[in-house]
């Protein structure tokens, strides 16, 4: 990979260490990863391989007990160790995140529209009316039927798929350049998964946002990612363009991952 232009996101020697009492666990070790503007990078690995810790460290969301080392640069600016005030300006507006479980990631006491319009109110300094208009547009963008009516409902009144659409709308409303997704479809049933993936694909093409996608589902990666990284035990053991990885896995672990995936047809 040519090192000349600085990529959108540049992770170097990232390490995450959890300490509890005398025990220390290295969740992520010496991880290097680049995400170019507009690119979709999928990170796969089994539970506990450090995928989520890596993702959370980018926005400084790790619990207080975690020690983070190395460097995460976004647009050439270091994110690690950034004071919270600066981080808050980036969160939601330039880097956004989609969570795994849309039920627990939406505030049960806030109507959809209040939750969505919060983002443009914080970052764009928009007044209530304008922010709500933006929220409605965002709901339309993620293909929620009857956005006017849905906007006035509470999260528990929506179906799982619709909630995840709201989550995605919430992530996209600030027009971020980089989207982090932590298992965005795991909590959904299969048909809804497919719809959400199609939606993510469509939105990515429309907005040109880069996507860093963490999942244990190789099928999702095959569908969405330009490049794939495989994590095992905190290390990024292999990364390659999507097709190449599926066709010619180099690491034995990757091969066993691929072998474990039920397949009906050759991946795209």
């Amino acid at each position: 990979m040519s090192a000349a232009p600085e990529p959108l996101l540049r992770i170097r020697e990232l390490g995450v260490r959890y300490t509890s009492g005398r025990e220390t666990v290295d969740a992520v070790r010496e991880l290097d990863l680049d995400v170019a503007a507009g690119e979709c990078v999928g990170i796969v690995g089994e539970s506990g391989s450090g995928k989520t810790a890596m993702l959370l460290s980018i926005l400084g969301l790790l619990p207080a007990g975690a020690r983070v080392g190395g460097s995460v640069r976004f647009h050439g600016g270091e994110l690690l160790g950034l004071p919270p005030a600066h981080l808050n300006r980036i969160r939601g507006s330039r880097i956004a995140m989609i969570f795994q479980d849309p039920m627990s990631a939406l505030n049960p006491y806030l109507r959809v529209i209040d939750q969505l319009s919060e983002v443009p109110r914080i970052h764009g300094g928009l007044a209530r009316r304008a922010a709500e208009q933006r929220a409605l547009e965002a709901l339309e963008a993620v293909h929620i039927g009857e956005p006017e009516r849905r906007a006035r409902q509470y999260p528990h009144q929506l179906s799982g798929g619709m909630r995840q659409r709201v989550m995605i709308a919430m992530a996209l409303i600030g027009a971020p350049e980089l989207l982090l997704a932590d298992e965005p479809t795991t909590a959904l049933d299969v048909t809804v998964q497919a719809q959400i993936l199609t939606l993510l694909q469509e939105l990515r093409q429309r907005t040109g946002a880069a996507l860093l996608l963490v999942t244990h589902d190789l099928g999702i990666v095959a569908q969405l990612a330009d490049r794939v990284g495989v994590m095992q035990g905190g290390h990024l053991i292999e990364q390659a363009p999507c097709e190449e990885l599926f066709e010619h896995p180099r690491q034995p672990y990757t091969r066993s991952l691929l072998a474990a995936m039920p397949r009906l047809e050759a991946p795209a």
Partner: protein, 278 residues
């Protein structure tokens, strides 16, 4: 909203409790203004009359010939006012204190909660007695004294809730969108505390009323000739054998008010939770 009305209809008890409280509050505001009697002028020819429908004194008179109905309604006014204001103070202060301590955490949390511990350990009744001896029997003193202690429980409970809330995913999701500080506490933490706070607030209101009654019973409450329900009960208890109505009427009213508040809390929690089936 119709969803509200539907939910309200499934809680007829709440509606009745709210109605009774409202009726008592309105009566305590309106009736004394319309009545020919007041709460302070003695009528020495009408001493300690029992309740009777004819003759104007529906609930009878007290040993100084003052109309008992008017005095009880004035007592309700004082008791409800103290209860609502003191509860308001305690809820506002308690929620703010607890939510900040719980959400911010760390040294600030430790400092804030030790302050609560210190206030808890002040022996309250002697403290109020000393206070009233120094400053006199002032009504506002009651507000402050009661408000100052009753927020401690709420602060502790709210802090615990906030601690567990802050680990929830939607708080993290809000943090990812850049929400922070006061907005996070106000928009995301506090609304989710509502259920607990409402239950606790409606428990606080009767506690405060009882506490005020207790202080008045000890002679530390309102200044005569003004009466609160507590001081009326105290006066009535002194004359219990000869004129039981002087004790029974204010005691029954006090019991009714407290019962209604207890009932109200339960229904309100269901009504205000958006997750309750609409």
């Amino acid at each position: 909203m119709s969803a509200w009305r539907r939910r309200l209809r499934r809680h007829p008890g709440t509606l009745i409790a709210a109605g009774v409280l409202l009726a008592i509050a309105l009566a305590s505001l309106i009736v004394p203004a319309l009545s020919p009697y007041d709460y302070y002028t003695p009528q020495l020819d009408l001493i300690s009359r029992p309740p009777m429908l004819r003759g104007g004194h529906v609930l009878g008179t007290d040993p100084l010939g003052r109309d008992l109905l008017i005095r009880v309604l004035w007592g309700c006014r004082i008791s409800l006012l103290i209860a609502l204001l003191a509860s308001l103070i305690s809820v506002v202060v308690g929620v703010a204190w607890g939510a900040v301590a719980g959400y911010v955490g760390g040294h600030i949390d430790a400092f804030m909660m030790r302050a609560v511990d210190v206030l808890y350990s002040v022996p309250f009744v002697p403290f109020v007695i000393v206070l009233t001896m120094l400053l006199g029997r002032e009504l506002w003193l009651m507000f402050i004294a009661i408000g100052a202690v009753s927020w401690l429980d709420i602060a502790r409970i709210v802090r615990g809730e906030a601690l567990s809330l802050k680990r929830r995913e939607f708080i993290e999701a809000a943090r990812v969108t850049g929400v922070h500080g006061a907005r996070m506490i106000g928009q995301h933490i506090v609304p989710n505390l509502l259920g607990v706070v409402i239950i606790y607030a409606t428990l606080t209101v009767p506690t405060v009323i009882l506490f005020e009654a207790f202080m008045s019973f000890l002679g530390l409450g309102v200044r005569i000739p003004l009466a609160s329900l507590g001081s009326l009960i105290a006066d009535g208890a002194g004359d219990m054998q000869a004129h039981p109505h002087l004790l029974l009427v204010p005691a029954a009213v006090l019991a009714t008010i407290i019962y209604c508040f207890n009932f109200l809390g339960d229904g309100l929690r269901d009504l205000l939770d958006p997750r309750g089936q609409a």
